[in-house]
């Protein structure tokens, strides 16, 4: 269950119960926050003030809460993207690039398809966003199937390509006339998502993301292809033995995972930015790893993880203004959360391993 670690070999790592996992993640987060407070006071700031202003910034008012929802929406998608790949035993580190490609495709559909009613235009831009990210993910998938190239490497390299490609598109072919700002023209009004809470930035995209979490759950736990994905992820040998086409699975999962990350980009375009800019994502793709890690690759866990990291992002700004603590500290605290969770999971895994060994004996060694 350790995010970056290759899974499948150590099958028993997923044996722990969900409740145990949630508890461990919770305590790890608390420990990380305490460490963060220590760090803040070591830097000479007031940790209580820093944290209270962060809390006010993320939950203190309707506006602040809406901001948390806005920040967590793309994280739900990228968290699902990483989790889906993980469930299949793959490590998708390309969410950032897939997000950018999805955003670009969504923007293109939003700008160049004209004269459509919103009920048709929005789904079309969504489809474009999904395809943009999905095809980008599929590249890494096919490199793995065809040449055995590690998706960990290829997805990271594809990130760089995607981000630079977007830079070019926004500065060149798709630039908004007359070409003063490096951004595209805004998407058609018919492509823009409606508001969720009047008077705030919270938008319908949040609800759509929740619908996708439901689909994510249905796919993995209620469908035959999803069962194949989970079997391949937990035990590749058993998948081969049952006749599951593992190569097809890799392609499919990388496409779907890419698509989910692409939807994060689409969401940013049609609900937040309205147009493509080079910095459409402040690292939502990479945060997806953390979200999925905190959430144990499970639907509800991903929502909780996205909520946590969304709140960090929303509250970070206020902390900077009110307590004068640099926003970079928020990144440090996020990193602390990841480290403590990974560490606690490793301890848990070791502990479970030992328990298992004591129970079953060491037959293999005889």
């Amino acid at each position: 269950m350790i995010g970056i670690k290759k899974r499948g070999k150590k099958n028993n790592t997923q044996g722990k119960s969900g409740a145990q996992q949630v508890l461990v993640s919770f305590f790890a987060t608390v420990v990380a926050l305490l460490l963060g407070m220590l760090l803040i006071s070591a830097l000479g700031f007031d940790p209580v003030k820093a944290f209270s202003s962060m809390l006010i910034g993320s939950f203190g008012s309707l506006n602040a809460f809406a901001e948390t929802l806005v920040k967590m929406t793309p994280l739900i998608y990228t968290g699902m993207s990483f989790a889906l790949a993980s469930r299949c035993g793959l490590t998708n580190l390309g969410m950032e690039g897939q997000l950018y490609m999805g955003a670009l495709a969504g923007t293109a559909a939003g700008i160049y398809l004209t004269g459509l009613p919103a009920a048709i235009h929005i789904p079309l831009t969504m489809l474009a966003g999904f395809l943009g990210g999905g095809l980008w993910g599929l590249i890494a998938g096919s490199l793995k199937v065809r040449f055995g190239a590690s998706e960990i490497i290829t997805t990271v390299m594809l990130n760089t390509i995607a981000i630079n490609f977007i830079d070019y598109m926004v500065n060149g072919p798709m630039i908004e006339p007359p070409g003063i700002n490096c951004q595209t023209p805004p998407v058609q009004d018919s492509a823009i998502l409606g508001n969720l809470i009047p008077g705030t930035r919270a938008h319908m995209g949040f609800i759509i993301a929740l619908v996708f979490v439901l689909l994510f759950w249905l796919y993995l736990w209620r469908s035959k292809p999803g069962y194949e994905v989970r079997v391949s992820g937990l035990n590749m040998e058993a998948a081969r033995y049952s006749g599951i086409n593992t190569n097809k699975n890799i392609l499919l999962v990388m496409f779907l995972a890419g698509g989910l990350a692409g939807l994060a980009g689409w969401n940013e375009i049609v609900a937040v930015q309205i147009r493509m800019i080079p910095s459409v994502s402040p690292g939502y793709g990479f945060d997806g790893i953390a979200v999925s890690l905190v959430g144990n690759n499970a639907p509800l866990g991903i929502i909780i993880g996205a909520f946590l990291f969304g709140a960090f992002r929303a509250g970070g700004n206020r902390m900077q203004i009110m307590a004068k603590v640099p926003n970079a500290i928020v990144s440090v605290i996020q990193a602390l959360v990841i480290i403590t969770i990974v560490a606690s999971q490793m301890v848990l895994e070791k502990w479970n391993d030992r328990k298992l060994q004591q129970e079953s004996g060491s037959k293999e060694e005889v």
């Binding site: 099958n11 044996g15 209620r222 469908s223 937990l234 058993a238 006749g243 060491s362």
Partner: protein
């Protein structure tokens, strides 16, 4: 000659298993001493104790009469005991010299002293006539040469006692001869060699003495010159087999599976893993495949179940050739498979029993239309199987890893039998299980046979094979040594066939 090494009353227990039971072994300097035994007889455990990887539960080790305790392989190496493992521990992209430098303690403290090392190695190579190029990349060497590098590595680190674990398993006959020459030249220089093997002819040829292990105990130490290959076979296999399983004799059924001239080559080094395998399985019979582990049985089963594609030959089942078919096609065609490793292949350990029961049939209509997977139906099915096969589990939602070995195997057997196969391929179905579970699984297999199902039973447990099979084929290095009926063969003959002698040649020898 003096005793260079003594292992006295070594007992090694693993939870639930006694791998070595009061084993005593005395080795003299300059001799080749073989350890002979079937799989699981405790050879490897004993050697792992000797080279410091395991600590014995009881017992002591004496080197030159002085008691020693090793806590790591490094300790043992420091006292001159070096092991050459069956699976080489070399880095293919590095040169022979660099491989020898890894972990060597006198290769310079901070800067690698390549030159001195190279000189020492060259000296060794010339002394024992090993023909290895120090600057060659290990990846470009043949398997035999790689093994030589392993031996040089151990010698360079100062070993006086060499443990060779199944060294000929990976070699061609010619390479084996070269290895034997090297062993002889080493013993001439007063090195001691412990030779682990189950190949009777090789043991007879190379060793001065042989200690036979059976089920963790020593059956005896003998001078090789005093024993014939037949004696060794009997000592290794030992027991007389109880053939008293109750089952009706059946008339010969129709041929269900016909394997013709099946061959498989290793893509990497073109080594033949299977060679001209021919046999058939009939309805209502158990065909036993006997042989020591690693003689092509896994490859055979993989070819039959579509997990590997054989290089040539035919697998005819119901008028179709299965050779190039995909696993799913084969398995949905009335074939079930109990895989050799229940934990690595047969089950998904962190999944629930329900999810494990779904593994072979989840795609069928009865478990949900189209892409929908109807867990209610699978759960229903699982509950029935748990009851019918009396699987001990708190609930059908228990994780597979929390069941005992016997119950895990029952889950697989329940799943595979409930598919109503016509052909059942069962590999090591009782490995590592307790007597009760073994009994139960044997009953199930015989019951299926009596129903008219053809069973291919691969096992290294000779007793199991002799007891259950209607006919037996014996495999050795990817070839079939003979097809026999259990009633027509002696244990001694079985042992000889498992050790690499064809049935005809054994019988011919007897006739003379």
């Amino acid at each position: 000659m003096s005793k260079i090494l003594e292992m006295i009353n070594i007992t090694k227990c693993f939870p639930g298993v006694m791998a070595n039971d009061n084993v005593t072994l005395a080795v003299e300097a300059g001799e080749v001493h073989s350890l002979l035994g079937e799989n699981g007889a405790g050879k490897s455990t004993l050697m792992n104790v000797l080279c410091g990887l395991y600590r014995p539960t009881f017992g002591s080790i004496r080197l030159d009469g002085e008691e020693v305790k090793f806590s790591s392989a490094r300790d043992a190496m420091a006292r001159g005991i070096g092991m050459v493992h069956q699976h080489f521990m070399l880095i293919p992209t590095m040169t022979v010299l660099d491989n020898c430098l890894i972990g060597a303690k006198d290769a310079g403290k901070f800067v690698l002293d390549r030159k001195t090392t190279a000189e020492k190695l060259t000296e060794l190579i010339e002394k024992y006539d090993m023909k290895v190029d120090l600057n060659a990349k290990v990846g470009s060497l043949s398997v035999g040469q790689r093994q030589r590098v392993e031996i040089i590595k151990v010698l360079y680190r100062g070993a006086r006692i060499l443990i060779l674990d199944e060294p000929t398993a990976v070699l061609t006959p010619q390479e084996t001869l070269e290895l034997f020459e090297m062993i002889r030249s080493l013993t001439e220089h007063n090195f001691t060699v412990l030779f682990i093997s189950h190949k009777l002819n090789e043991v007879k040829e190379i060793s001065d003495k042989v200690t036979v292990l059976r089920q963790g105990c020593v059956t005896g130490t003998y001078k090789t010159d005093d024993c014939s290959v037949e004696d060794l076979a009997r000592l290794m296999v030992g027991r007389e087999i109880d053939l008293s399983v109750k089952r009706a004799e059946r008339e010969k059924g129709e041929i269900l599976l016909d394997v013709k001239n099946l061959s498989l080559k290793n893509a990497e080094d073109q080594k033949r893993l299977l060679e001209d395998i021919c046999f058939d399985v009939r309805e209502g019979e158990i065909l036993g495949v006997a042989g020591v582990d690693g003689n092509g049985q896994s490859e055979l089963v993989e070819c039959l179940t579509g997990m590997q594609v054989a290089s040539s030959g035919e697998i005819v089942y119901k008028g179709q050739n299965l050779r190039k078919m995909k696993t799913r096609e084969i398995m949905s065609n009335g074939i079930s498979h109990i895989p050799q490793d229940r934990q690595k292949t047969g089950l998904i350990m962190p999944m629930t029993l329900v999810e494990n029961f779904a593994l072979q049939d989840y795609y069928r209509e009865e478990f949900g239309k189209s892409v929908y997977l109807n867990w209610a139906a699978v759960t229903e099915h699982s509950k029935k199987l748990i009851k019918d096969f009396s699987i001990k589990t708190p609930s059908e939602l228990e994780l597979a890893q929390n069941l005992s070995g016997g119950n895990q195997q029952k889950v697989i057997i329940a799943r595979e039998i409930s598919r109503h196969p016509e052909l059942l391929i069962a590999m090591h179905p009782t490995r590592g299980l307790d007597v009760g579970a073994i009994e139960y699984i044997h009953q199930q297999l015989v019951e299926q046979r009596n129903k008219g199902i053809g069973i291919l039973l691969v096992s290294t447990e000779l007793e199991e094979i002799m007891k259950l099979s209607d006919r037996i084929i014996v495999m050795y290095e990817g070839k079939i040594m003979g097809t026999v009926k259990p009633s027509d063969i002696t244990i001694e003959e079985m042992g000889l066939m498992m050790g690499g002698q064809a049935l005809e040649s054994i019988r011919a020898k007897k006739a003379v």
